[in-house]
């Protein structure tokens, strides 16, 4: 299964990937992006089943990337992982069609629960 992880922080990407490896049985192919533009390009290129997307990033932020990904594929499963935990930011991404929101620092238990919930919707 293809998964896209986008964050300008290498450490943040590593943490997400580590949790994914612990949570998902079977083969996963992970693509990494460092900004919103890369997220959009990688999504269009590889059509991953799940996207993890940060909000505060250079070149293109996560809000715009989410909008563009959803415009390209309304069924895209995008999980936002961000330190911008203001209610306005959370409400905005959910209204743009984000599947869920995980605040930083990442609660790996919550992330695993979300992945389990997604298990019924996408074939993990």
């Amino acid at each position: 299964m293809k998964i896209l992880v986008t964050d300008d922080s290498k450490m943040a990407r590593k943490m997400v990937i580590k949790t994914l490896n612990e949570s998902i049985e079977g083969e996963i192919e992970i693509f990494e992006g460092q900004n919103g533009q890369e997220a959009v390009d990688l999504y269009k290129q590889h059509k991953p089943k799940i996207v993890f997307l940060d909000l505060t990033m250079p070149i293109m932020d996560g809000f715009e990337a989410l909008e563009q990904i959803k415009m390209f594929d309304n069924d895209a499963k995008v999980i936002i992982i961000s330190a911008d935990i203001q209610k306005t930011a959370v409400d905005r991404v959910l209204s743009l069609g984000a599947y869920n929101f995980i605040k930083k620092p990442i609660d790996t238990t919550k992330m695993k629960q979300i992945l389990e919930k997604l298990n019924n919707k996408v074939e993990i």
Binding site: D8, S9, K10, M11, A12, L55, T56, M57, P58, S82, A83, D84, I85, Q86, K87, T88, A89, K104, P105
Partner: protein, 139 residues
């Protein structure tokens, strides 16, 4: 003692992410009270020697202006000091949305008092500066 600190790119990334999370939480707490939204920017990491810090601050800040500073000491496995600096005018601008949008009357009153007191102080300091013939650092 050599006080030069050399951080690897991974260590810088880690520190940047740590700041990102810390300021994200602080911003969410403040904007919730003020019922406002703040756009977060990406933290920048710059390494300077402690001995150069005074010169750095002098170059970065307009010393004609009054600044508000919050200091926080961090102890434990990771030791350090966190210093938040904001010039008074920016602090007042930051408080204005609270005057209009805050949900609680007490917050609106507190913000109004802060803005009123700080605005008076700015005016007074500018008057003294002019009366006493002090030249602005920027001139």
């Amino acid at each position: 003692m050599n006080d030069n600190i050399i951080l690897t790119e991974d260590e810088k990334d880690c520190l940047q992410e740590l700041m990102n999370v810390a300021y994200g939480s602080a911003t969410a707490a403040i904007t919730e009270i003020l019922n406002a939204y703040a756009k977060l920017s990406i933290p920048k990491i710059q390494i300077i020697n402690a001995s150069e810090f005074k010169d750095y601050l002098t170059a970065e800040l307009n010393l004609d202006e009054k600044h508000l500073i919050a200091l926080q000491e961090i102890n434990g496995a990771f030791n350090g000091e966190n210093m938040f600096v904001i010039d008074e005018k920016s602090a007042i601008n930051m408080a204005y949305p609270g005057l209009k949008n805050a949900k609680h009357k007490e917050v609106k009153e507190l913000v109004a008092n802060i803005i009123s007191a700080q605005s008076k102080e700015i005016g007074m300091m500018q008057q003294w500066q002019s009366q006493w013939g002090y030249v602005k650092a920027s001139e």
